[in-house]
Subunit: 342 residues, 2 copies
């Protein structure tokens, strides 16, 4: 079956292609009756415009693209709803582009820029390890949302929305210390992480130091090589191994909530309980933390506000109202059942 094109519709309606185009795009200069007629024929013939051709011709497609690294990170699920709502409220259309775990988000963004010509891009998660020169290739306004960036990139080259990972991690560990814990293990991201994993480790470390607790390298639990640190499996494996090794701690501070669920299971599997035997603190504030038993003490990122602000900044950029901005939100320490005073 041959695909029906705008020309076919024009021929059937006995009008020119431009008139059909006008009907399609709700242009003002068209007779309402003609428009009605054309729309009817379009529906009858199940005509669907070819997006490739449109994108090719259009210089800008009032669309906002969101690039999400990975799909498994539940932290972004809530954010996407907000992003979508905000973008549609501004009468722009929304495309969610999934970025493969191993793919490079900047490359994907560059391809998207050519293909769909969005007027703005929001990056969600992952990490951009590029030079300034590479970043400059992207001519579409963009905002980095909870995403790590390589060291020393000039701040004026991009916008961002995030939390202060170092400070908030420090906050959480201080809380654990106040609750009487002194042997606090950190379930970490990769050892060579330069993004949020690194920052949360720094916060852990500095909280210990400022409370006069010596930093013990043996209490930092890195994933096995090749394992994704932000998974439940990883939390499970490293803590299981830790507990079996005979080393001990009274609390686990975990790099993400998701990982923390794995930690809880490892504790349970060893015949111990959270929080009676071990306290567990997560990071992110995903919904499941509230539903889990025991409910998870965590550092909650204000993801709704962050998503809103990302859109706000992006539109300021698009409409030339302001230059690049960096907005850092406070996180909230949510005290739940998984941490107890000892």
């Amino acid at each position: 079956m041959e695909s029906v094109t705008i020309k076919d519709i024009a021929r059937i309606c006995g009008v020119g292609v431009s008139t059909v185009s006008r009907a399609l795009n709700d242009h003002p200069d068209i007779n309402p009756e003609t428009k009605e007629m054309i729309k009817r024929v379009i529906a009858e013939h199940h005509y669907i415009p070819n997006n490739s051709a449109r994108n090719l011709k259009r210089m800008e497609s009032n669309t906002i693209a969101v690039l999400m690294k990975g799909i498994t990170n539940p932290f972004f699920h809530g954010m996407i709803k907000v992003l979508e709502r905000e973008v549609e409220r501004k009468k722009y259309s929304f495309i969610l582009q999934h970025v493969d775990e191993e793919a490079d988000e900047l490359t994907v963004a560059l391809e998207l820029e050519k293909e769909k010509k969005p007027c703005g891009i929001i990056f969600l998660g992952g990490a951009i390890g590029h030079t300034e020169a590479a970043l400059k290739q992207l001519n579409t306004p963009f905002v980095l949302c909870t995403i790590g960036l390589g060291q020393g990139i000039e701040k004026s080259l991009y916008s961002s929305v995030s939390i202060d990972d170092v400070k908030e991690a420090q906050e959480m560990v201080s809380y654990l210390i106040e609750m009487g814990h002194r042997r606090i293990a950190f379930v970490a991201a990769r050892e060579d992480d330069t993004a949020i994993g690194r920052m949360r480790l720094d916060g852990y470390r500095s909280a210990l130091e400022s409370h006069g607790i010596p930093f013990d390298e043996g209490l930092v639990l890195y994933p096995e090589k090749g394992d994704n640190p932000y998974t439940m499996e990883n939390g499970y494996h490293v803590v299981k191994k830790f507990l079996e090794s005979g080393k001990d701690a009274t609390a686990f501070f975990v790099v993400s909530d998701n990982t923390a669920f794995g930690v809880c299971k490892a504790v349970a599997d060893m015949g111990k309980r959270v929080p009676q035997d071990y306290s567990v603190a997560g990071f992110d504030g995903i919904q499941m933390g509230d539903y889990y038993c025991p409910s998870l003490t965590t550092m909650k990122q204000p993801c709704d506000e962050m998503a809103k602000e990302a859109v706000e900044i992006l539109f300021d950029l698009i409409e030339g109202r302001s230059g690049n901005r960096h907005r850092i939100f406070p996180a909230e320490l949510v005290k739940r059942e998984s941490v107890r005073r000892i």
Copy 2:
């Protein structure tokens, strides 16, 4: 900054556009040295081909598209990894297209067919409520994977991979009955559901009947109008309301694992425990069920095998090795802690 096109590259290299095109697509008829030189220039100038133009011209882009309804359903996360791996093993490229919760997947598929010209489509989740005529519009081979279809669609018009939802739900409820439960509530999908929600309800009903337990409409817990039944919130709300109403049951059979976590929380919030006071059984077999406390008894869908088979069928279709097929997989009753004998 003007975008660099194939013409620019051709001009810079002092060759024709077709030579550049040949270099890009690794065509055989090209001098290796010319090719090297062109590739170098391309890299230097950060040239990125415009996909819209390519798609417009190309007849078929050896790509397999996967349409996923919603992103929040954790059941599909594992499946996508397998799909991606299998597709790439066959030397095809893979695109994951997100379908909005409210959007219609067939419409998205039709647009994608025009735009990207994939050689095959896999639908993941959701439900297709269309007529045969509508289904016939899609000329690309496709496979429906765990997806509901309207009643009475001719089987020869599509391929599918699924489980027998009625039978497996029946199985689960029979298990609950064997464990001594007689007042079993069903946390259901929407009342007007015609897809898996409906089938799981039918299975629940028929299990009760075949064990001589009268069906009690008051034990079927539908979501509030507008709520997504497959969320934790929904599980929480309907069961909380149920328990507060003074009605009682000894077990909850829940339409999905995700919903079941909400049910567990509702029970905990009422000062009761799972499974001591109430047994809870889920459906799907997502990873979190194993990590949850108590671990969740569930009906596990063999999602890896299902994903593999979906790809297998799709390639048989594409390469004309066979017509439409329907493959129904057995699910596995995974007995964990959330259900106890009474």
